[in-house]
């Protein structure tokens, strides 16, 4: 690859985006974007279905704190690329099954940790008062704890979403599919413009997702804290 001409690379990338053949067929941008979105949404949905109830329950009963809090730190030490490869060459095989499993594994910790902390940060006096006026445990969760925990819970889902999109990009190296494929194909054919174009699409997709969650968090009433996940 020619690394000595960054200036003309810009026009190459513009040309890449202008080429209509890059926007159609199974390898085209719309198809790859939908694949990426589908993989990410499926994984995030599954992760939420597992982690949100678990975080709410653990937070409500106040148990499993160290586990919930340390899970996110542990997750940071495990390379996503390695887990994708391990699952693919292992029993799950190459394909969406191993990709989605890996994505879920990395999406659960931030949701669980933030959801748990959100529930525990609710003022105990408020919870006791709710119990005192005769609310059932379920009513306490639904009307007192959950609304107060929502900003942090949303923050956890945001971190998970960004993590999932990043990992789904790397998944192209392993099982194919998604916008990462455009980058990978560029590397394979030594087409630098394709590599950069694919990278721009991935970056834009991740930033737009982040923005959507920032807006959601604003709507929910509080700015998210700036905690981070593995890109």
């Amino acid at each position: 690859m020619d690394a000595s001409r960054p200036v003309s690379a810009v026009s190459d990338v513009v040309d890449w985006f202008a080429d209509p053949t890059h926007w159609e067929g199974p390898g085209g941008v719309p198809t790859r974007l939908l694949e990426h979105l589908g993989l990410s949404a499926a994984a995030l949905g599954i992760a939420c279905a597992i982690a949100v109830p678990l975080a709410l329950w653990l937070g409500h009963v106040g148990r499993g704190g160290p586990l919930a809090v340390n899970l996110a730190n542990t997750g940071r030490a495990v390379p996503t690329f390695a887990v994708l490869v391990l699952l693919a060459i292992g029993p799950l095989g190459f394909g969406p099954k191993s990709t989605i499993t890996a994505l879920v594994l990395f999406a659960v910790p931030p949701i669980l940790t933030n959801g748990y902390v959100g529930m525990r940060e609710v003022d105990r006096d408020v919870v006791e008062a709710a119990k005192g006026v005769g609310m059932s445990p379920w009513q306490v969760v639904r009307t007192v704890e959950l609304p107060l925990a929502v900003p942090l819970l949303l923050n956890g889902i945001r971190l998970a979403a960004v993590q999932v999109i990043a990992t789904a990009t790397i998944a192209a190296l392993v099982a194919g599919g998604g916008l990462g494929n455009i980058i990978l194909l560029g590397f394979g054919t030594q087409d630098q413009a394709a590599v950069v174009a694919g990278a721009l699409l991935v970056a834009a997709f991740a930033l737009v997702t982040e923005l959507v969650f920032v807006v959601l968090a604003r709507v929910a009433g509080r700015r998210p804290s700036l905690a981070v996940a593995e890109p």
Binding site: M1, A3, R5, P6, A9, N73, R76, A77, V78, P79, T80, F81, A82, V83, V85, L86, A88, I89, G90, V162, I165, A166, T167, T169, I170, A172, L173, V174, G180, I183, G186, F187, Q192, V195, V196, G198, A199, L200, V202, A203, A206, L207, E210, L226, V228, E230, P231
Partner: protein
């Protein structure tokens, strides 16, 4: 670690009868002995890439963090920009740097420095903000100028928070180095990538375990360093 003449014994797969390499086992002692040199050099590359990236990240984050602390506008811009950078997936980050620095370790290091900046700048700012106002006031009262105040009062007191950031940055950098395999400079990630292409289970598992072990060892080392450098924090724990 056992050192084997790997060049001589790399053909062992073909010659010996049903070794764990032939069976493609997940755990294979023979893999460790025959590829010891390659494993050691990949692990060393991994350590060097991580150390250089975090060290450069810290060298940039300290002045940037001080500026962000001093000037609110700068702070908002720096923190916003670094958060946006952190949102960019690693594979895309390395790919975006490709036109400038090519398929090289430099590209990997630049990407990793940019990521570590997000964590480090934030912790430098948080550490400086955590210095009690009355401490700053009394230091100013006893004649500290702005520079000596920063170097001899504020930064030392911010050190525990800064070092906590270095730990987080190091652990995530160790994991992220593996993605550098796409540029052929991923340390142990290169072994994972080659193991992926040949479906070599022992190679992938060994490299993965080593990456996680490296992250744990680095974290413990920095924790020890933190205790030695800031002994006053130990009493509080």
């Amino acid at each position: 670690m056992l050192l084997a003449p790997s060049a001589l014994r790399s053909n062992v797969v073909a010659s010996s009868s049903t070794s764990c390499l032939q069976r493609n086992d997940w755990i294979c002692g023979e893999y460790l002995t025959t590829r010891a040199d390659l494993i050691a050099s990949s692990a060393l590359e991994h350590v060097v890439l991580t150390a250089v990236s975090v060290a450069l990240g810290l060298a940039i984050a300290l002045p940037l963090g001080v500026l962000a602390f001093r000037f609110r506008r700068v702070g908002a811009v720096v923190l916003g920009a670094s958060t946006a950078l952190y949102t960019i997936p690693s594979l895309a980050m390395f790919s975006l740097l490709l036109p400038f620095t090519g398929l090289s370790a430099t590209t990997v290091v630049i990407g990793l420095v940019l990521y570590s900046l997000t964590i480090l700048v934030r912790n430098v700012v948080a550490g400086l903000q955590g210095v009690p106002a009355d401490v700053v006031e009394s230091a100013t009262g006893t004649g500290y100028g702005p520079v000596s105040l920063l170097l001899r009062v504020q930064l030392p007191l911010a050190l525990p928070t800064i070092l906590a950031g270095v730990r987080v940055a190091t652990v995530s950098t160790v994991a992220l180095v593996t993605v550098g395999a796409i540029l052929g400079n991923g340390g142990l990630g290169d072994l994972i990538y080659s193991g992926l292409r040949t479906q070599f289970q022992a190679e992938v598992l060994t490299a993965t375990v080593l990456v996680v072990a490296l992250a744990v060892v680095a974290d413990l080392f920095l924790l020890g360093l933190q205790r030695v450098v800031t002994p006053w924090t130990r009493a509080a724990r």
